[in-house]
């Protein structure tokens, strides 16, 4: 039966661009931090020169991330309510998240200090304690979406994993750019093998991300009306198809795999920058395509 909505009251989208930016910054931070622990905790010597810059970048991004979050609040002066133990809501991902976002930067700062003074044993212990924090601080943002049953676009068990892998991806891509800049201005050059391993890691995670996306699309295509509408809408969005997937995932994948581009540092830089942009678009589309499907 044909039916037309004559009038209805949709409410405005409660979030601004700060929210995807915040996800993006925590993702970058968690990714850089995990990269930094590769040498200090997991003992892969090749990544040693990256340990300190990666940890510092991770800390700076961690200062930006909560700032974005507080900017988006409609009552910014009340942000401390999230840290009052009495107000803690054990079913809310955001409650856990605000504690993680407080503890993690502190742990990160201590970790940076011990890398700086080259106290390797303590660094290893601190690093292994902070890695789970880094993982949770980003995975919780995935849970914040996955636990919203109202919106088919968010309510997916894949969300936390997808957020985590793309966080790693953006972290590595950022570190590649930083390493290339460091290489340019430093006297002692970095080991070229370092780039090879970073490149292979990016390729592997890109493939994992594409796998997540494929599973996500297929399940939504045979999901409820809401799920079907969201995925069809997403396929009509130019930013989603051409921005996030073509430019942000497939193009870098091709650049990183083709034999005549993968050897050049310039191409590596281009691919990394594309990935950094693509991961932001992923955050953006997750947040805002979710709001495009009318609920009432």
């Amino acid at each position: 039966m044909d039916a037309a909505v004559l009038y209805n009251v949709p409410h405005e989208v409660p979030w601004k661009v700060y929210i995807p930016l915040y996800f993006y910054f925590t993702g970058l931070s968690a990714g850089s931090f995990i990269l930094s622990t590769l040498s200090t905790v997991f003992g892969i010597k090749r990544f040693k020169p990256m340990a300190l810059p990666a940890a510092i970048i991770s800390f700076i991004l961690l200062l930006l991330a909560p700032a974005c979050l507080i900017l988006d609040l409609h009552q910014p002066t009340r942000f401390w309510h999230t840290l009052v133990p009495e107000y803690f809501n054990r079913t809310s991902a955001l409650s856990y998240g605000s504690w993680l976002l407080t503890i993690y930067p502190i742990a990160n700062l201590i970790y940076i200090y011990f890398i700086y003074v080259k106290y390797d044993r303590v660094t290893k212990i601190l690093g292994s304690l902070t890695v789970p924090l880094a993982i949770f601080v980003h995975a919780y943002t995935g849970f914040a979406f996955a636990l919203v049953r109202a919106r088919a676009w968010w309510h997916s068990a894949l969300m936390p994993g997808y957020f985590l892998t793309s966080a790693l991806l953006s972290g590595i891509a950022l570190l590649v750019v930083v390493a290339l800049v460091m290489d340019r201005f430093q006297k002692n050059k970095l080991d070229p093998e370092l780039y090879t391993s970073l490149r292979l890691m990016m390729v592997a995670i890109l493939l994992v991300d594409l796998f997540w996306s494929g599973s996500f699309w297929l399940t939504l295509l045979v999901s409820t009306a809401d799920g079907y509408a969201s995925i069809m809408l997403a396929f009509h969005e130019k930013l989603y198809v051409w921005g996030e997937y073509a430019a942000g995932m497939l193009a870098p994948l091709v650049i990183l795999l083709l034999p005549w581009t993968r050897k050049h540092k310039a191409w590596l830089c281009v691919a990394s920058l594309l990935i950094i942009g693509g991961v932001f678009l992923m955050r953006y589309s997750v947040v805002f395509i979710g709001f495009d499907i009318p609920l009432s």
Binding site: V5, P14, Q75, H81, Y87, N89, L94
Partner: protein, 251 residues
């Protein structure tokens, strides 16, 4: 009304009900200690006059351009066989509310004593998570209070023994408000004898707002069709922009 019920509550004895069918021993059913406020919307009676919308805005001082409760209008069919249908929309006062689940500061909770989902405006940090999580799109940012806001069955009225403003204002008696925990209340009797439905039952939110004759076209789902894009574009057009300030003119 409230006073009378408190007295009842004190005096009421413990009823003993024998479960004859299963031959089980007698079990104690405690007398009514809690309430369960609910609303029944009889769509057959609704004439689409929007009195409830107006009464709600007036009672709760809802800023211009925002609604705590509203009426959705739908036209079905094609001339000359046309049906004009209305769906009264308000907070569904869920028993397992998704908004309470996601609030990071417990600024919105479900009151144990009467099942109404209430807002604590002084606690709310305005993060918008509850607005994003409500499957009924019943929440919004109040631009004057700068916190999340929603229908709470006119809390100050029902706590003082009055009916919600919309129920008082309804011209055709389409809204019935009452206590589900009291089997002799009008709403309990109606619910027991009339086929009713709730919105989005598959989400398991157990809403306390029941509808008679809420047609599937009214229920606000997007339908499997090739035209869903127009539907969404139309929907987007009607979302007030975050920078809108027309509500300020009516301050």
């Amino acid at each position: 009304m409230a006073e009378k019920n408190t007295l009842d509550r004190e005096k009421a004895p413990i009823h003993r009900v024998a479960d004859d069918a299963k031959g089980e021993p007698e079990r104690a059913v405690p007398a009514q200690t809690t309430r369960k406020w609910a609303m029944l919307v009889d769509q057959r009676r609704c004439i689409g006059c929007h009195s409830c919308t107006v009464a709600c805005k007036s009672e709760n001082n809802v800023p211009l351009g925002y609604w705590r409760s509203w009426v959705k209008g739908i036209q079905k069919g094609a001339f000359p066989h046309v049906g004009n249908l209305y769906l009264r929309r308000l907070c569904n006062q869920c028993e397992t509310p998704p908004c309470v689940q996601v609030c990071p500061v417990q600024a919105t909770v479900r009151r144990e004593e009467d099942g109404v989902v209430v807002m604590y405006y002084g606690k709310c940090i305005g993060c918008g998570m509850c607005i994003a999580a409500c499957p009924y799109d019943a929440r919004f940012f109040n631009p004057i209070r700068n916190t999340a806001d929603k229908c709470d069955f006119c809390l100050s009225r029902i706590d003082n023994g009055l009916k919600p403003a919309c129920v008082e204002a309804c011209t055709s008696g389409a809204l019935i408000f009452g206590d589900l925990a009291d089997p002799s209340s009008e709403i309990s009797q109606k619910l027991a004898t009339t086929p009713t439905c709730v919105l989005k039952p598959e989400l398991g939110t157990k809403p306390k707002v029941y509808y008679v004759q809420a047609d599937y076209t009214l229920q606000g789902r997007i339908h499997f069709s090739d035209r869903f894009e127009d539907e969404i574009l139309d929907y987007r057009q009607h979302i007030p922009s975050p920078g809108a300030d027309y509500w300020k003119k009516g301050e």
